[in-house]
């Protein structure tokens, strides 16, 4: 079964204060599809004034929204979930067109997960309570969670609607108003969502600003009228956003990527069974979403005594990946999101080969035929080498895994932790001791054990080291969008006696 490019309007607007608003300067940029480099539509090239409009609208709405009952807020979050679910195929098609990822992923992973994240936080806010402690018989300490106010959110282009759905629901559930800037590569699904939910929230509670990082992202990140900034992206922008936040003494959360190790101990090959099959798929998951995942398992570490036999199967499985038209339901790997990513990945092939990495699979662009010849396709690639090579140390953000071998647990850990980052990791073993001890020794915020690339709303996600700080998903996320009001109440009628 195959779908085709969805229909778009000629141009779209920002969503500010409950309405679609044209950019003040009247400028737009052209957004194209990486599938065939064709035009999708024009989106606002917003400037500082547009951002201010959105931030002001959010500030005007924050008092009333912050005082709206949890019951009502949860109801509205659930309504958004229902709307996305009812239009799942439409959202999936738009997402595939804008990002280049295969339709089977957007239909079965991205969009259903979005629905679940909205529902999860609707449930969390209903189930949650503050706390009260009797400090002594006359004194009560009451902790009440209050919203921060206005939250600025800057999201990436690899999972456009899902990253929106990771960031927006917890902020809204806890009573904040949001100004969100989608990545300029992928503005479409956020816009479609605003069209579908335009009337759900009171005006000003949800605002979407399109535009370029230096023109629209920076004013949002540095606005003194924003109470918190949440960012997913890379380290330099992360540092800049923290700098701006320091001027406003604002909290921030940062998710800045990784170079995640995926470790295979020899016991995975003790039997040729369903688990081994799962482990091999687990290694090949580096190609999931064209490798454009912060937690891409881009370093495959295999114990030396099973290395040849294990890699033989991984290579065969990698070569079996179907890379074709992303609208085709059988396609497993689609197009990279933009030309600059496509070029960057190829420049890594070059330096990898120069450093002595051996190409086990792929290693070049994939020239597809017809319209797709204009798209940005890279063959799923395995490079064999050692951990000091640059391809082992830098996030390539493509369907590229670097493979190396290790002798024992100590060496596996040494290699796994020899990285600036600490976002994700995978551990595959049948050994009950390794199942616990190895993940505990890896310096990363998420270790998948005998699985990979699962992102349930219920499990906290975030980085160690240069991968950032703060967590996403899980109810603990709500405290990243709140402050604690402590009420210290005395029931004692008698004075202190000091004065």
């Amino acid at each position: 079964m195959s779908y085709s490019k969805p229909k778009f309007k000629e141009k779209y607007s920002n969503f500010i204060n409950g309405k679609f608003v044209a950019p003040i300067g009247g400028e737009y940029f052209e957004n194209t599809s990486p599938i065939d480099n064709s035009l999708i539509a024009k989106y606002p090239r917003s400037q500082k004034e547009d951002v201010e409009l959105a931030v002001d609208a959010a500030n005007a709405a924050k008092e009333a929204w912050g005082n709206t009952s949890a019951t009502e807020r949860a109801k509205l979050l659930n309504k958004v979930a229902d709307i996305i679910e009812a239009n799942l195929e439409e959202f999936a098609l738009v997402e595939t067109c804008d990002n280049g990822k295969p339709i089977r992923e957007t239909l079965n992973a991205d969009i259903p997960l979005c629905v679940d994240h909205w529902r999860y936080f609707a449930a969390c806010i209903r189930a949650e309570e503050g706390s009260a402690t009797e400090l002594d018989e006359m004194t009560l300490s009451m902790n009440i969670k209050e919203p921060l106010g206005v939250v600025g959110q800057i999201i990436p282009w690899n999972f456009p609607l899902l990253m929106l759905s990771w960031k927006m629901p917890p902020a809204l559930a806890t009573g904040n108003c949001v100004v969100l800037k989608p990545a300029e590569q992928t503005p479409s699904s956020a816009t479609l969502l605003m069209e579908k939910i335009a009337d759900v929230f009171p005006p000003g509670v949800v605002n979407i600003i399109h535009g370029f990082g230096p023109e629209a992202g920076k004013p949002l990140a540095s606005s003194s009228k924003v109470d918190k900034v949440a960012f997913t992206g890379e380290t330099t922008t992360g540092q800049l956003i923290m700098q701006y936040a320091s001027k406003n003494l604002n909290p921030v959360t940062m998710e800045l990527g990784g170079k995640s190790p995926n470790i295979f101990f020899n016991s995975v090959m003790d039997h040729d069974d369903a688990f081994l099959d799962k482990a091999i798929e687990g290694a090949v998951l580096f190609a999931f979403n064209q490798g454009e995942v912060c937690t891409c398992p881009s370093r495959i570490l295999v114990q030396e005594d099973i290395y040849d036999k294990f890699m033989e199967r991984v290579i065969a499985r990698t070569n079996g990946i179907i890379q074709d038209n992303p609208y085709d339901i059988n396609t497993m790997v689609g197009a990279q999101a933009s030309n600059d990513q496509y070029e960057k990945i190829q420049s890594y092939f070059k330096i990898g080969k120069e450093e002595g990495a051996k190409v086990l699979a792929g290693g070049e662009a994939n020239k597809l035929s017809g319209n797709l010849a204009n798209g940005f396709y890279i063959k799923p690639t395995l490079l064999e080498g050692h951990n000091k090579m640059r391809v082992f140390q830098e996030e390539i953000f493509g369907p590229v895994a670097c493979v190396t071998k290790f002798k024992d647990e100590a060496e596996a850990l040494e290699i796994a932790n020899d990285t600036l980052y600490g976002l994700g990791a995978g551990v595959w073993t049948r050994d009950a001791h390794q199942l616990y001890q190895i993940p505990r020794a890896i310096k990363a915020g998420r270790v998948w054990v005998n699985c990979y690339h699962a992102y349930p709303a219920h499990a906290p996600f975030g980085g160690y080291k240069k991968s950032g700080f703060g967590r996403e998903n899980h109810l603990m996320m709500m405290n990243h969008y709140r402050q604690t009001k402590n009420m210290l109440i005395s029931y004692d009628k008698n004075k202190l006696g000091f004065f």
Binding site: P156, A183, E184, T232, E234, D340, K344, E395
Partner: protein
């Protein structure tokens, strides 16, 4: 001898940005999405200190990289190039529909010796 150079096409864009923004710096980013790419900012926009290694100047623009990252890069020579694209960072060339990118090669033996003794 230089650790970092720039292509003619990229240099043209740097000049264009200098006219608009004045003094600039390059900073090499790491991490996900638009990371692993050089970014260009107005001088003074980014807080730099001793942990940022100055690799050299291209078109009069200093090129910095964090020292932790430099440890993994120091055996390579970098060429800043420009390509069509659309990054999502705050880098100043993005509104032009262009992105700076890095081509790398290993340092020659002569270069490696030079930088080691320097």
């Amino acid at each position: 001898m230089e650790r970092v150079t720039i292509t003619k096409e990229a240099a043209e864009i740097v000049k264009q940005l200098q006219l608009k923004h004045g003094d600039l710096i390059f900073h090499q980013s790491g991490g996900c999405c638009d990371g692993s790419a050089p970014m260009i900012f107005e001088k003074g926009d980014m807080y730099l200190d001793a942990s940022d290694i100055l690799l050299g100047k291209i078109e009069g623009v200093p090129f910095y990289m964090n020292q932790d990252q430099f440890e993994y890069w120091k055996h390579t020579h970098l060429t800043v190039d420009i390509t069509k694209g659309r990054g999502a960072s705050f880098s100043l060339e993005i509104p032009l529909g262009l992105r700076f990118l890095i081509h790398s090669r290993l340092l020659t033996e002569e270069e490696a010796t030079f930088f080691k003794t320097k």
